[in-house]
C-alpha cells in the first residue's frame, strides 16, 4: 500500500460485513511492524502542552529536549518538593520520583531545539 498517496475515499457497497471476518488475521500479521515505546515517552509527552512536542517549545516556555538527564531530574525533584509558587511546582507533583527519573532520562535522548545550545 502506498501511504503517501492522497486519501481518496471510494464509495463502497454495504453491507460489508463478510469482509471483516478475517480482520484478526489482518491485525495479527501486522504486529511485527511496531517497536515497543521507549520508557518515559508517554509520561514526557505530558510536558509538551507547554514545553512543545518532543520538548521543543514554539514560544515562551523553555525547551527541555536534550538536556542532561541528571540536571532535569534534580530540577524536577526540587520543584516537586519545594513550597509551591508557580504552576510548574504543581505539575512536578503529578509524578512519583521514579516517573520523574523516566521523564528526565527520556527528554535527555531527544534532539536539542534548533538554534539552541545546552547551557549545562
Amino acid at each position: 500500500m502506498n501511504r503517501k498517496r492522497p486519501y481518496n475515499p471510494q464509495r463502497e457497497p454495504r453491507p460489508f460485513t463478510s469482509c471483516r471476518l478475517l480482520l484478526p488475521v489482518f491485525i495479527a500479521t501486522s504486529l511485527s511492524a511496531f517497536a515497543a515505546p521507549p520508557p518515559g515517552q508517554l509520561l514526557a509527552a505530558q510536558c509538551a502542552q507547554c514545553h512543545g512536542t518532543n520538548g521543543v517549545a514554539v514560544s515562551g516556555f523553555e525547551s527541555i529536549a536534550g538536556k542532561k538527564a541528571d540536571d532535569l531530574y534534580k530540577g524536577l525533584l526540587e520543584m516537586s518538593q519545594r513550597r509551591p509558587e508557580n504552576i510548574m511546582d504543581l505539575q512536578a507533583r503529578a509524578f512519583t520520583p521514579a516517573q520523574l527519573r523516566l521523564i528526565a532520562n527520556y527528554l535527555a535522548t531527544l534532539p536539542v531545539a534548533a538554534g539552541e545550545t545546552l547551557d549545562n
Binding site: 500500500m1 471510494q10 463502497e12 489482518f26 491485525i27
Partner: protein
C-alpha cells in the same frame, strides 16, 4: 480506503465465505487503519501522536469543518481583545508534517460489528472501515425547556460562529442594559470557563459600557473552579457590575423575549448567554456508548480510553466519563495515553499500567491579569480509575500580568502540540 486494502479485504471476504484461499503474504506489510472522528484537541492530538509514535499506521481524521476554532482564548475574542483568526486551527500541518489523512465530512453512524462509520462527505455517504476507531466529538447540548434558540440566545460554548454572534451582541449593548449568563450543572466543558467569561464580560462592561451589568446564574451551589480568584473578583473589583446567583436551575428559556426562568426567579437581558446542560457528542450516544449511570457520558478504560461496551472504539475528551475535567488540555493529555495504548495493542502489548494525565489552564480575570489552575491524575490500580493527585491540584494565589503572558505562551504551545 485505497485499492490495495480493498482488494485484500475482498480476498479476505472470499476466504471467509469458504473459498480455499491461502492467506495473502502482502498482509504482513499492510498498515492497520485508525479512524478518528472529531478534529478538536482530542482528535487532532491522537491522530498526530499515532503517526509520530506509531510509524506504519494509516490515520484518517474526520471533522465536519475544514478547520477548528479553539475554545481556549475564545472569551478574549468575545471581548475583542484578540481576533478570531488567533483561535483558528487548520489541519494542513497534520497532513503535510505528520501524514494524517484529513477528510471534511460529518460522521453519521458507527457500525461496531462491521467496523465501519458512515460519513457524509459533500452530500454523498461513504462507509469508512477501521481497525480501531477513536471518537472525540466534544459535547452535545440538551436544550432547555421553552422556545430556546441558540441563534437568539447564544451559548458560544463551541467556538466558531457562536463566538462571533455573542461578540456582536455584547458590542451592541448600551450602558443601561444587562448581560445574563447561565452556567450549567457540572460536569460541563472547561470548569473555570463560565466564571472566566463572567470576568471578561464584567471587565469589558466596566471599560466600555459603564453602567451596564452582568447577572451570573449558576445551576451549581458554588463556583466550580478557581473559587479563590473568581470569588475575590466577583466580591471585589466587579461587585458593582456583577451579581452572582448560585443554585439557579433553569426551568425555561424564552429566546424571543430574551428571558430565562430559574429556580431563583425570572431574569431578562439585552444579551442572554445560555450555556445549556452538556452530554456526550451525538455519535457517542447514538452508538449506545454513553453508558454511565446518567446516560450522558461514555464509560472507558482510562488505560486506553477503550469503550467498556466496544473495546475497539476509544472515546476521548469531553465525551468520556472518567471523572477527569473536560478541557482541551485534558483531551490532549488523554489522546497521548490513547495513542500509546493503540500502538501497543497493534504490537500485541497491554497498555502502560501507570499513565498520568494533566489539566492546566490560564484564566483572564481582568484585561491584563490572569490566574491559573492545574490538576493531575494518576491511575489507581485498585479502583481502576484516574485519581486526582491532591498535591498537584491548586489555583494561583492571585491573578498576575505574568499569568497573562504565560496564558498566550501556553496557548501557542498546546495549539502546536495538538495541530501541527
Amino acid at each position: 480506503m485505497n485499492s490495495d486494502r480493498r482488494n485484500f479485504l475482498k480476498l479476505a471476504g472470499l476466504a471467509a465465505a469458504g473459498w480455499a484461499f491461502p492467506r495473502p503474504v502482502s498482509a504482513a506489510t499492510t498498515a492497520p487503519h485508525v479512524l478518528v472522528i472529531g478534529g478538536g484537541f482530542g482528535g487532532a492530538t491522537v491522530a498526530k501522536y499515532l503517526k509520530l509514535w506509531g510509524g506504519n499506521i494509516d490515520v484518517t481524521l474526520i471533522d465536519r469543518s475544514s478547520s477548528h476554532y479553539a475554545c481556549i482564548l475564545s472569551n478574549l475574542v468575545i471581548t475583542g481583545a484578540i481576533p478570531m483568526d488567533r483561535i483558528k486551527l487548520g489541519y494542513a500541518n497534520l497532513q503535510s508534517k505528520r501524514g494524517v489523512n484529513f477528510v471534511q465530512g460529518e460522521a453519521l453512524a458507527v457500525d461496531p460489528v462491521a467496523r465501519e462509520v458512515t460519513v457524509n462527505v459533500g452530500g454523498t455517504h461513504y462507509a469508512y472501515s477501521y481497525d480501531k476507531l477513536v471518537l472525540s466529538p466534544g459535547v452535545e447540548f440538551t436544550p432547555p425547556a421553552g422556545n430556546y434558540n441558540a441563534d437568539l440566545t447564544p451559548h458560544a460554548w463551541k467556538a466558531g460562529p457562536q463566538t462571533l454572534l455573542l461578540k456582536q451582541q455584547l458590542s451592541a449593548m448600551t450602558k443601561s442594559q444587562t448581560f445574563v449568563l447561565t452556567i450549567p450543572k457540572s460536569p460541563y466543558r472547561c470548569p473555570p470557563g463560565p466564571y472566566e467569561r463572567a470576568c471578561s464580560v464584567a471587565d469589558y462592561l466596566t471599560r466600555k459600557k459603564r453602567g451596564a451589568r452582568i447577572i451570573v446564574l449558576d445551576a451549581n451551589a458554588s463556583i466550580q473552579a478557581e473559587p479563590v480568584n473568581f470569588g475575590s473578583a466577583f466580591r471585589g473589583i466587579y461587585k458593582n457590575v456583577l451579581s452572582y446567583i448560585p443554585n439557579a436551575t433553569i426551568l425555561g428559556v424564552d429566546s424571543q423575549a430574551k428571558s430565562v426562568t430559574t429556580s431563583q426567579g425570572v431574569f431578562t437581558g439585552a444579551v442572554v448567554n445560555i450555556i445549556p446542560t452538556h452530554r456526550a457528542g451525538q455519535i457517542v450516544t447514538d452508538a449506545g456508548l454513553a453508558n454511565d449511570p446518567t446516560g450522558r457520558w461514555a464509560l472507558v478504560d482510562p488505560l486506553s480510553y477503550a469503550s467498556k461496551v466496544s473495546p475497539d472504539i476509544h472515546i476521548l475528551g469531553d465525551s468520556q466519563g472518567t471523572g477527569q475535567p473536560k478541557s482541551g488540555h485534558m483531551a490532549n493529555s488523554q489522546a497521548k495515553v490513547c495513542a500509546d495504548a493503540i500502538i501497543r495493542a497493534f504490537n500485541g502489548e497491554a497498555p502502560d499500567p501507570a499513565p498520568v494525565t494533566s489539566s492546566a489552564c490560564f484564566s483572564p480575570i481582568t484585561s491584563s491579569k490572569a490566574a491559573w489552575l492545574t490538576a493531575s491524575f494518576q491511575y489507581d490500580p485498585v479502583t481502576k480509575a484516574m485519581k486526582r493527585v491532591e498535591a498537584s491540584f491548586a489555583e494561583a494565589a492571585q491573578p498576575t500580568s505574568d499569568g497573562m503572558q504565560q496564558m498566550y505562551q501556553w496557548a501557542d504551545n498546546i495549539f502546536a502540540d495538538s495541530f501541527s
